[in-house]
């Protein structure tokens, strides 16, 4: 923690950005935000989607997305105001003085050029380095970012390397011209947790060794805490709280910040065990695969009871979502047994009876595409009621209203198109639609992953409450071990389509840990600044041990 030196390298004063449509001013995206960035300092910007954090990050480069306009304030760099520069002056600052690392490296690299060419483009184009020297620098950067075969890596096209590697290559591209400031815009959000740890570590090493100042943007406070010296909490474009990382984490003053800090620690009440518990789902030796032979699941055994909140965890590609599709019958199993309350279900949903379909309902990750944007809220909820139970019209209406009450949406939402709802409201509506079928099992496939943390917490609370009142078994599919630990009572851990670990939550997450579970657990960012160091230390220790062991 360095005390802020006298002369900041970047100084943002009263920054205000507004949306603009057909020349008419609209919503305020960033409202009067100010901060100073000292040389070598890292400032973290944190907030939910729509908080304006990316807009601020882009404004630091004098850039505003189409439809946005910087209406007031200044961005001072080396005495000049970037906001009032000509486009040409700004262009010369970008890359050489202030660089940018985007969220999705996969989409942000040009598919037509090799990586080395893209990394070296600016140093060569601006004459900052001779081509040979620039290439040598890039290879050095690849090396320090732990990229495989640094000499050859640059010869690949973007689609030929993995997501984690691409994200690091993007950091190399940002550092290529040794800028004074780098803006990191959610650079690890799209990565798996285990990859995230390595990428975070690589980023931190890089900015520390170059003494680069950075603005680090993320929606995950725990991630920001690992890199930032100071943290600014934003909400609806306004600054909520700004302070040293340790103060924000340990002594948050604003209620919103306090909620954010607490978010990872809240423990949910267990779902009440039924007096006479009942077996709902039974899977034995279930295997299935797509025609492409990727995303396979094999030999899955699991049992879900009515009182269970049953977690399926794993990284992307582990087959956890595939398993959900096998259970609902979208992907027919090729072998094994699947029973719902003692009754064997046909492999494909097409062969299942209406009653069988009704009893298992699925909640999706992206509520945006899980709802027909051309239907109203009422149409969305009423259809399953009519379809499965076909009661008289006023009864449908009454049931729909009751469901809307249960998911805590106002009744006047009934006539709204689903496209007009916010992300959290949409997910509530998806839950209501599933609930309308009065299911025995509700499968939530990453149902809270696409939502902002606080909204996700509310959805979890809602799910728990509904689970209690409706007495249904929940299958909770997630990559987030933190949530699973707090929310579920049983768990299976999946890796490459198979179950590697499983049992009651307390047992699985208590020592001695299964090796892979341990890796996943240690990768979940913790709300304290030292977490990344500890994790890395523990990992290198383990490696040393392993080497020592094999040597012995």
């Amino acid at each position: 923690m360095t005390p802020a030196p006298a002369t900041p390298v970047l100084s943002i004063r009263g920054l205000t950005v507004r949306a603009e449509r057909d020349g008419q001013p609209g919503q305020t995206l960033v409202d009067d935000v100010s901060f100073d960035l000292a040389p070598g300092q890292v400032i973290g910007l944190i907030g939910e989607s729509g908080a304006g954090k990316s807009t601020i990050g882009l404004a630091a480069l004098g850039y505003s997305r189409p439809g946005c306009v910087i209406t007031a304030g200044s961005v001072l760099y080396k005495g000049g105001d970037i906001v009032h520069m000509t486009e040409r002056e700004r262009q010369l600052l970008r890359g050489a003085d202030i660089a940018y690392v985007a969220q999705s490296a996969g989409a942000s690299f040009n598919p037509a050029h090799r990586l080395l060419q893209q990394v070296c483009e600016i140093p060569i184009a601006r004459g900052l380095a001779a081509p040979a020297k620039a290439r040598e620098n890039a290879i050095g950067l690849f090396q320090s970012l732990d990229l495989p075969e640094p000499q050859r890596f640059g010869g690949y096209f973007p689609h030929q390397v993995s997501g984690g590697q691409l994200q690091r290559a993007m950091a190399a591209m940002a550092m290529a011209a040794s800028p004074a400031i780098v803006v990191f815009d959610e650079p690890t959000t799209a990565l798996d947790v285990t990859t995230q740890v390595e990428v975070l570590a690589a980023f931190r090493r890089l900015i520390q060794s170059h003494g680069t100042a950075a603005i680090y943007i993320a929606h995950d406070l725990a991630v920001v805490a690992q890199l930032a010296d100071r943290i600014m909490v934003l909400r609806h474009g306004k600054m909520v709280e700004y302070g040293d990382t340790r103060d924000i984490l340990e002594r948050p003053r604003q209620p919103y910040t306090q909620k954010l800090v607490r978010e990872r620690t809240r423990k949910f009440a267990a779902a009440p065990g039924a007096e006479r518990d009942e077996r709902l789902l039974t899977l034995r030796n279930v295997s299935a695969s797509y025609k492409s032979f990727r995303n396979v699941v094999h030999d899955i055994d699991l049992d879900v009871d009515r009182s269970d909140t049953f977690a399926i965890v794993g990284e992307s590609g582990s087959g956890k979502s595939t398993l959900a599709r096998v259970i609902v019958g979208m992907l027919p199993r090729q072998s094994g047994m699947l029973e719902l309350a003692g009754e064997t279900l046909p492999a494909s949903f097409k062969e299942r009876t209406r009653e069988q379909l009704r009893r298992i309902q699925l909640i999706y990750q992206m509520p945006d595409i899980a709802l027909n944007p051309h239907q109203t809220v009422y149409e969305t909820i009423a259809r399953p009621i009519q379809f499965y139970f076909n009661p008289p019209k006023d009864e449908v209406r009454a049931q729909a209203e009751e469901l809307l009450r249960q998911i805590e949406l106002p009744l006047e939402f009934m006539t709204r198109k689903t496209s007009m709802l916010s992300g959290g409201q949409k997910q509530r509506l998806c839950i209501a639609r599933a609930l309308a079928a009065k299911p025995d099992v509700m499968i939530c496939d990453e149902a809270t992953s696409a939502l902002d943390p606080l909204v996700a917490e509310e959805i979890l609370e809602l799910l728990r409450r509904l689970q209690t009142t409706h007495r249904m078994g929940l299958v909770f599919i997630s990559h987030d071990l933190g949530v699973v630990r707090r929310f579920c009572n049983k768990v299976i851990v999946m890796k490459r389509g198979a179950i590697v670990d499983g049992g009651a939550i307390e047992k699985v997450f208590a020592p001695p840990l299964h090796e892979y579970t341990a890796l996943l657990m240690s990768s979940v960012p913790q709300m304290r600044p030292g977490w990344l160091d500890e994790t890395l230390r523990a990992r290198s220790q383990k490696q040393t041990d392993a080497i020592a062991q094999s040597a012995a």
């Binding site: 949306a19 449509r21 609209g26 919503q27 989607s49 729509g50 609902v328 019958g329 979208m330 949903f349 299942r352 209406r354 379909l357 699925l362 999706y364 992206m366 595409i369 899980a370 709802l371 027909n372 944007p373 051309h374 239907q375 259809r383 399953p384 379809f387 499965y388 496209s419 007009m420 709802l421 916010s422 992300g423 639609r433 079928a437």
Partner: protein
């Protein structure tokens, strides 16, 4: 998310505000289309003479009786242009409708059924789409004779391939969305899914395509008429009128270009409206 706000705002616009937002070319286009429709429907009331009536001497220059003069056998040019609107637009519209019925129907079936149904339909369309339309239509019409039903069916079948591809790809894009899977898992049948889940989400681009296909068919029929294999005399048709009067053009007569101008103006008007509509729908997507 800002989209939701924008859409909410649009609901409070008055009609006048909405009209004002329509760009000028699109407004002119809408007006031209409206005039053409009125003329086409009211042709017998508006036209001073019948379409095949020999009303005066041949090649009568424009005067009070014949506003645009007469053609080689003394028929009134203006009356023939007015009836031409009825014939040419009417047949083009029927052809486009038939072609949409065939193309979109098959496209939705292919998209939702998948598997071998999709394979067979798509490969058949792959073959049909790489047939040069004008050449083929001319050949078929020369062999079977240029009757109006033959023409409508030939062009509709040839042109339905593009509509098939578009509606299939639109439907497939919607079909993979989770809300369609929800309906499937609920147990809904294919017809319900197409009608309730897919169709409402693809109407806007399909309507824009309807305009484009109409212009294409309309120009196509005019070309056939010009080449002598379109709507047959004595019925008035803009394309064949150009051919009939082409000798006048080499003498510098602008009147002879009037039917060609009528074709150009209507095609342009439809294109202006489609251009605006396409911008509107693409703007809503992002």
């Amino acid at each position: 998310m800002s989209l939701a706000v924008d859409r909410a705002a649009e609901h409070h616009d008055t009609l006048a505000q909405r009209v004002r937002r329509v760009p000028l070319p699109a407004l002119i286009g809408l007006a031209v289309i409206a005039i053409n429709i009125v003329v086409a429907i009211g042709a017998p009331l508006i036209a001073p003479f019948g379409q095949s009536e020999i009303a005066g001497p041949p090649y009568n220059p424009p005067d009070g009786a014949f506003l645009l003069g007469t053609d080689a056998i003394g028929r009134d040019m203006l009356s023939r242009i007015i009836y031409g609107a009825r014939n040419t637009i009417g047949i083009a519209l029927m052809t486009t409708l038939l072609s949409f019925f065939l193309g979109a129907g098959a496209g939705f079936v292919a998209a939702t059924a998948g598997g071998w149904v999709d394979q067979i339909l798509s490969r058949a369309v792959d073959v049909m789409i790489s047939i040069p339309k004008l050449i083929f239509a001319l050949m078929i019409l020369s062999i079977l004779g240029a009757s109006i039903p033959t023409m409508i069916i030939t062009i509709a079948v040839l042109d339905s391939t593009r509509i098939f591809r578009l509606s299939r790809s639109l439907a497939i894009n919607v079909n993979v969305l989770d809300f369609v899977e929800v309906a499937r898992l609920r147990g809904e049948n294919t017809f319900w899914i197409v009608r309730k889940e897919i169709l409402p989400n693809v109407t806007a681009p399909l309507l824009a395509e309807f305009g484009l296909r109409f212009t294409f068919v309309f120009l196509f029929i005019s070309s056939l008429g010009f080449l002598g294999l379109g709507i047959q005399p004595p019925a008035a048709d803009w394309g064949s009128m150009v051919k009939d009067n082409s000798t006048l053009i080499t003498f510098g007569s602008l009147i002879a270009l009037a039917p060609a101008l009528a074709i150009a103006i209507l095609a342009l008007a439809v294109n202006f409206v489609v251009d605006w509509a396409a911008n509107l729908t693409s703007g809503l997507k992002d």
